[in-house]
Symmetry: C2
Subunit: 253 residues, 2 copies
């Protein structure tokens, strides 16, 4: 039952019609990038791990589209609390939170080498009149972000720690699937502390949860480096998320 192939495309359609929607989503990303490149030649910027494309409180001017790499979005409270609220992958937009207040409420921090395209907001609005598809794309991206943030909240509120970590990996795998990348391997470019912050638990709990998943052969670590995770069967991972809910079941502790 374990799927150990390295098929780069989504290997398993879990509950619903994810295969088809994955394809559509994959095309969506490419189309978005092409459309933007066409309508407003965006300014490209190469970033490296640790770079901040914008800081919390900086005045808003640009949206950004992530062409490659990985970003974390960090919310900053007045009292200094920091919270990773979102992770961004290729094709995702950054900076929507700045529109309303005229300044970003979060920081966007690169977690890897990558490239972002800066999209001046006013230029975008102008371009939208000429290319109506652009407006649809923009709204879809904002809508998706809203839906996604709500899923995060639900995960934090309803899942126990183990299941939450499993769900986190699931979501990451799904993000990769949507982009036509392999779902059987995830390279976590973040520390246990960052993961824990994002999921609302301590780094020790993250470590223990990952260890438990590995013990149950639901995930496996690469020989070297505890940051690249192999997922032999995404469905098994999704099933584990469910298991954490109803019956305590007979799971190897």
């Amino acid at each position: 039952m374990h799927n150990t192939t390295t098929n780069p495309v989504a290997t398993a359609a879990a509950p619903s019609d994810s295969t088809r929607s994955d394809h559509l989503a994959g095309e969506r990303t490419a189309e978005t990038l092409a459309l933007l490149k066409n309508a407003i030649s965006p300014q490209r910027r190469v970033v490296h791990a640790g770079d901040e494309v914008y800081q919390a409180g900086a005045s808003f001017r640009n949206l950004y589209v992530l062409n490659s790499g990985l970003f974390k979005i960090v919310n900053l409270a007045a009292d200094g609390r920091e919270q990773v609220v979102s992770l961004k992958f290729r094709g995702d937009w950054l900076g929507f939170d700045g529109i309303a207040q005229g300044r970003y409420s979060c920081a966007a921090v690169a977690m890897d080498t990558g490239e972002v395209w800066a999209i001046p907001y006013d230029a975008l609005l102008n371009a939208c009149t000429a290319h109506p598809a652009l407006l649809t794309t923009l709204h879809s991206a904002m809508s998706r972000e809203i839906a996604r943030d709500r899923d995060s909240l639900m995960s934090v509120c309803t899942l126990p720690a183990d299941a939450r970590v499993a769900d986190f990996l699931c979501q990451w795998a799904a993000s990769q699937a949507q982009r036509g990348m392999r779902t059987d391997q995830i390279i976590l470019r973040m520390t246990r502390a960052e993961i824990g912050n994002y999921l609302g638990m301590t780094l020790e709990t993250v470590s223990r949860s990952l260890a438990k998943l590995a013990r149950g052969n639901i995930i496996a670590f690469a020989e070297k480096g505890r940051r690249d995770v192999h997922i032999p069967d995404v469905n098994a991972l999704a099933a584990f998320v469910q298991r954490g809910l109803a019956p305590p079941a007979l799971m190897l502790q």
Copy 2:
């Protein structure tokens, strides 16, 4: 130090420039409603507690703007988990989550008698070409929702239960202040279970946290009905949120 006046306007600007922004925000709501009424005569619909303006999974056609009343937005997972992810007040928009997928991912449930305006999405897009201000308004509303959802996530992830309940009341009071309503009284039109669901804790914990706040005279209950909460001093409530963070301090247990 306690502020027991019934001044209907925001009584105290807590950390930042909230007085000015509250005024701006209050005008914003009125302007939005006027603008919409003007540009697209929206269909009005009266709702009563329990009514669902749209269900999770229903096909998306309309956005809605809340003219009066109170709504909860309930996210529904495939496995049946339900999660209150947001509360909506006068002037708030509902249904953004439906744009991307063509169907709503959440349900919008009235918690009180009220009125919503249905805004057909395509009609809105058309109207936006004629009234550019409408587009700005729309984007601001979506942006604000994104920022707000992130604040919720941060609250759940970083605050202990007591402080989370206090923060919840603070946010509610701030919402009322933005709309020019009194901040010294909140009528919770939801059960402890609903609050607990929203905040990621059990109803018993909500009850105990409220009791603790009342014992410390940070809030008070009306003679009858444990659902209307008096807040003598919003700053004291905000201070309590902070206190839950650094030092255990000397607070009456």
